[in-house]
Amino acid sequence: MSTPENISDALELLADNTIQDAETVRRNKKKSKRWRKWMAVAACIALVFGTGISAEASSGAVSNLLAPLFGGAKAELVGNIGVPVDASVSADGYTLTADAIIGDRYNAAIVYTLSSDDGEAIPDGIHFGSWKTDILFTGSAGGSLQIVRDEEHPNQIHLVESWTRSIPLIGRVATVSFSNLSLPGTAGEDDTLLAQGPWKLTYTLRYKDSTVEVPVDALSVNDEFGEQYTIKKILLSPIGLHLEMTAPAPEQMDKDNVLMQNFHVSLLLSDGTNIALEASAGGSYTKGDKTADAHYAAMFDTPISLEEIEALILCDTTFPLNLS
């Protein structure tokens, strides 16, 4: 008989080229639509806080610069929550600068600019062979790094590094290290190294925390299979949502025995728009328990003013927010 563990163990013995093909796809994975929007935000913020825009930036008119991208209300929102960190390092002919942070208690997006010191254009498709970020923290985590080109300045690219954590981020010290700036090779072939680096920055995660705790009194909701979740805490900000709850332990579920897989959340906006969230979720439980301590964390596609969010739709339950 073959068990799930057998199948998982057998995958180690797959042909190397099967694994390498998947590895190539992983490395070159397409940017999701959601990140295309965030990268546009990043490019604007980097532009605002970079040199050469001193007049508008120093006057505090960040909102005006971002308005063409988001429309007046949202631009004002982004202007409130982005804070420059002003950390910079040069190595091997390139300069990396941390421009700004957008964040709430559990989510943060950091915008960097990498520029070639000699003004030469940076090739398409480049990536860092090694990227490591250490933040003093514990708990489950998710993070990503996306690169977006600066169409107006070919010698620059912007990087958006995002983290979602299950513990608060504000005030923690982050050390980020990028190295081996490279052009990717195909499966079995090495990358072409452009510059080794490393570019190492250490900075404190200081930004305006726009998190709001929404009062909730042990709200119970049910998924499509009738399984019950009890929401204990709702933390909402213009960029994300964090929920703490108890969820049915996978062993207790009749269908799809994966923790939190059937728990879905949407935002209902005041104009009637329904936005389904894509989230990361996790938790822990002891074998034999009926419930698990779980959390749900989502970053929004674009910042949303809290006044625009009329309700959360948690599985089959609409939970009005009354934040305006």
Binding site: S2, E5, N6, S8, A10, L14, T18, D190, S280, T286
Partner: protein, 186 residues
Amino acid sequence: MRDEQIVMLYWKRDEAAIRETEQKYGKYLSKIAYGILADLEDSKESVNDTYLRAWNSMPSHHPSVLSTYLGKLVRRSSIDIFRWRNRDKRQVSEYALSLSELEECSSHSDSTQQSVDLHLLAETIDAFLQTLSPEARNIFVGRYYFMDSIREVAAYYDMSESKTTSLLHRIRLGLKAYLEQEGFQL
């Protein structure tokens, strides 16, 4: 540094091999370890164990693609740590979630009673994967070998998570039928 140069450092017993490996593949290995263990300290232990295994195995091994070789080492190390430390308490990690999903195409017996030729099973699974489109094959390997989350796997081809979940479900059912056809008892 190219893979060939790093492997030569191992063969020369030059400790710079570990530094170069960490610099080039540290993040890659940590990601695989964390997908299995969902714990930073355990992941660090697994990655450090992987460096030791690499040091002890070269020579005599001479991998041509170091990422694949190291990836297998860290995957094995992480799964061993996971099984040892989660005998009673279930830490929810992508590995644990993937095992739950793979129950759909396997038996539910206690793994301690299993008796199966892993090489034969691997050959059969590989043969099945070759019947799939490259997209489906890479998504399966990404989910169940690399332990990428549904969200990350969906990003391979810019698919929605629900579409990715459905595709994986169909692949698991197909694998189940293929294994039964090839004589594996499920």
